[in-house]
């Protein structure tokens, strides 16, 4: 088939646009997971997590946005109690320290200050701060620094520590560097409290379900394909028909059954069923088993081989790809399952990862986005790694479900 250059170009453009839509959410999640919390709120959005530093006494000191304040033209002043703050120039009445009496009070203006206050901290000027609109003598303040901020050259007030010491630096004096905060993952794990238990529960369920699904559905698929017994195909039809039943139909009776058995609040309802050969897995394996020539089985039977040995030594080794698909899908289904754990697990300590993540989200109320995204990354990562390792099995498995269905 010939493809013109224009068609090809359009195809690439559409594919790229599509790829951006599909990949961006994951990248954004990962980027947010590595940011300090205040950068998750930054407008416009910022893709790379950064650290901001200023030069102070020859050292580089990191400043966090929560410790800073963007300044308009103002004075950096210190009140009598020692706390530093910025005040608009027009609200300060200046007094000169040198000629304290009589105080020549006049409205302060930066350009009229004499001696001019340098941008270096100095305690040359005193004044009174009276917020506009209020009356009275105001607060006596020491002017530390005049900040000649303009719209195009803003200054930033940096609070150092909790003690209230502060100094102003021009924005150009702040250096940004890309600095992913890997410690967010540790923080998210601590914030979720029972994370290690969630992980252990989830892995345990995954292992049990994979073992259960692969063994039981291999046995059942063998019975439905390699042994010729009466009513076999009719029973198989029944098995296929059960796939039509939506889970909500059996949800309540299953719950009451597990409750009668005393299994609510334990992991049992989430794995015992997998040892009972799910119809979908049986169907998938049966399709594979059928393609193996019956002659192989006949020859083995004549040699006195039992059916179990035929399954174990002849059929299964030939059907490894299909078994991998069943195992992968089961693992993924268990890892991702939300409704099952939501129904049967009652104590927050016993949750699985998916349920624990949801619980953490509803408790934190959607404020700690960096931790929430870090936790989501931790839940998603194993799936991505698994996919990259077994991409072909995934694609083949999915394709199989469509073609044979």
């Amino acid at each position: 088939m010939k493809t013109s250059a224009a068609t090809k170009f359009t195809a690439y453009v559409l594919l790229l646009v599509g790829a951006v839509f599909f990949v961006l959410p994951l990248l954004w999640m990962f980027s947010t997971a590595l940011k300090p919390v205040e950068q998750t709120m930054s407008l416009p959005p910022q893709w790379l997590p950064r650290a901001y530093e200023i030069e102070r006494d020859g050292r580089r000191v990191e400043v966090r946005r929560s410790d800073t304040q963007i300044l308009t033209p103002s004075l950096l002043a210190r009140a009598e109690n020692g706390a530093a703050f910025a005040v608009p120039v027009c609200e300060v009445t200046m007094a000169r320290a040198s000629n304290a009496s009589p105080r020549a009070e006049r409205p302060g203006r930066l350009d009229s200050l004499s001696p001019p206050i340098s941008s270096e901290p100095s305690e040359a000027a005193f004044g009174r701060w009276r917020p506009s609109g209020s009356s009275g003598p105001g607060t006596a303040v020491t002017v530390l620094q005049a900040i000649p901020a303009a719209a195009d050259k803003p200054w930033v007030l940096v609070y150092e520590g909790k003690g209230g010491t502060a100094f102003a630096v021009p924005v150009s004096g702040i250096h940004a560097r890309i600095a992913p905060r890997w410690e967010n993952f540790g923080g998210a794990i601590r914030a979720m409290r029972y994370f290690p238990r969630y992980l252990a529960n989830t892995l345990l369920l995954c292992i049990l379900n994979v073992i259960g699904a692969v063994t039981s559905s291999a046995l059942a698929a063998y019975g439905f394909s390699r042994i010729d017994w009466r009513w076999r195909d009719r029973v198989f039809l029944v098995a296929m028909a059960t796939m039509m039943i939506p889970f909500p139909v059996v949800m309540v009776p299953l719950y009451s059954l597990f409750r009668a058995l005393g299994w609510i609040g334990t992991l049992k309802p989430l794995w015992v069923g997998s040892f009972c050969a799910g119809a979908f897995n049986v169907f998938l394996l049966r399709q594979f088993f059928r393609t193996i020539p019956q002659d192989l089985s006949e020859a083995a039977r004549i040699d006195g081989c039992s059916e179990f040995r035929i399954l174990w030594q002849i059929i299964l080794p030939l059907c490894r790809p299909a078994l991998v698909v069943v195992g992968l899908f089961t693992f993924l289904g268990t890892w991702n399952d939300f409704l099952g754990p939501l129904l049967y697990l009652t104590d927050q300590k016993d949750f699985t990862l998916a349920l624990g993540l949801q619980c953490y989200q509803s408790q934190s109320g959607g404020t700690e986005w960096h931790y929430l995204m870090a936790a989501s990354t931790l839940v998603i990562m194993p799936v991505i790694v698994l996919f990259l390792l077994a991409q072909r099995s995934f694609i083949e498995g999915i394709s199989m479900t469509g073609l044979k269905g």
Partner: protein, 294 residues
């Protein structure tokens, strides 16, 4: 029955016994019990009390029930065709002789593997009204008042549709596999006859993959009508003005929050009938257009 037949029957039943056990315990009993419970007042703590068709009659007058049904159908009508078309479009693009096909396929497929809860977290963050990436992007395009995806009742369902489209990769892979099975000779013959690209798509590709389109349609009907996790996680309790209260969510609430298990069972059976009915309807409507080559 000869002795060999008896032997084979015993052997066959032995091998399928795990399935038989599962069928009896996890399917047959629950289905039967579910029918019974749907005619009972049942709260799981005490024994069910027979109330006849009351649960079904209650549904008729339950405004919230109708709202949840409406929400679910609205969502399905939006999500299903969009998903099928987007997936088909992407699959057709991937089926072109493009470079890095494997990489593109991986990118499209990966989100469909992402755990629903984690995916919902990511989308909650992207769709956030003020800080979300999507609204920031819309603002740079000059939109003054971008939609409040999560708090405006009009936009909650489209938000879920958007998130659903993100997970469409599964369907893309199914389509792609079937597209690659269409014999090249058909395209060559069509080209010799002077068929344009559109004609080839319309009269060769679509008929050849129509069984798979039908399969995806049926799976889509079954899946979207049962949408639970995404709606439950993103709009716990149904969202603003119950605009994201889906059928399965309301059913879950009835069973496990309001302890009206009988009512929940009745709702479940109605859902089953709805799925059966729509599947039958879809089959009837598409029957003439689905082409089986073998």
């Amino acid at each position: 029955m000869t002795s060999l037949e008896r032997h084979n029957l015993r052997l066959g039943l032995l091998f399928v016994s795990p399935w038989i056990l599962g069928f009896l315990v996890f399917t047959l009993y629950p289905v039967a019990a579910s029918i019974f419970f749907s005619f009972c007042d049942y709260d799981v703590l005490s024994a069910p009390v027979w109330v006849g068709g009351m649960n079904y009659r209650d549904m008729l007058t339950d405004q919230v029930f109708w709202k949840s049904l409406y929400n679910t159908l609205f969502f399905s009508v939006l999500a299903l065709p969009l998903g099928l078309i987007l997936a088909l479009l992407l699959a057709i693009l991937l089926n072109q002789p493009v470079r890095c096909r494997g990489a593109f396929r991986a990118i499209f497929f990966l989100p469909s593997l992402v755990p629903m809860v984690a995916g919902a977290m990511v989308w909650l963050w992207i769709l956030n009204g003020k800080l979300g990436l999507l609204n920031q992007f819309l603002a740079t395009l000059g939109m003054q008042h971008p939609p409040q995806w999560l708090s405006d009742p009009i936009w909650t369902k489209p938000s879920l549709v958007l998130m659903g489209l993100w997970g469409v990769g599964n369907t893309v892979v199914i389509y792609l596999a079937s597209l690659q099975d269409v014999p090249q000779s058909l395209y060559e013959a069509a080209e010799i006859d002077g068929a344009s690209a559109w004609t080839r798509l319309r009269h060769v590709t679509l008929p050849m993959i129509s069984p798979v389109i039908y399969f995806n349609l049926i799976m889509g009907i079954i899946g979207t009508l049962q949408t639970f996790a995404s709606a439950y996680v993103m709009f716990n309790g149904g969202g603003p003005n119950r605009s994201a209260l889906f059928y399965a969510v309301y059913l879950y609430q009835n069973a496990f929050e309001f302890r009206q298990m009988g009512y929940a069972c009745a709702m479940a059976w109605l859902l089953f009938l709805l799925i059966l009915g729509l599947t039958w309807l879809a089959t009837r409507l598409t029957q003439k257009h689905v082409f089986y080559s073998t």
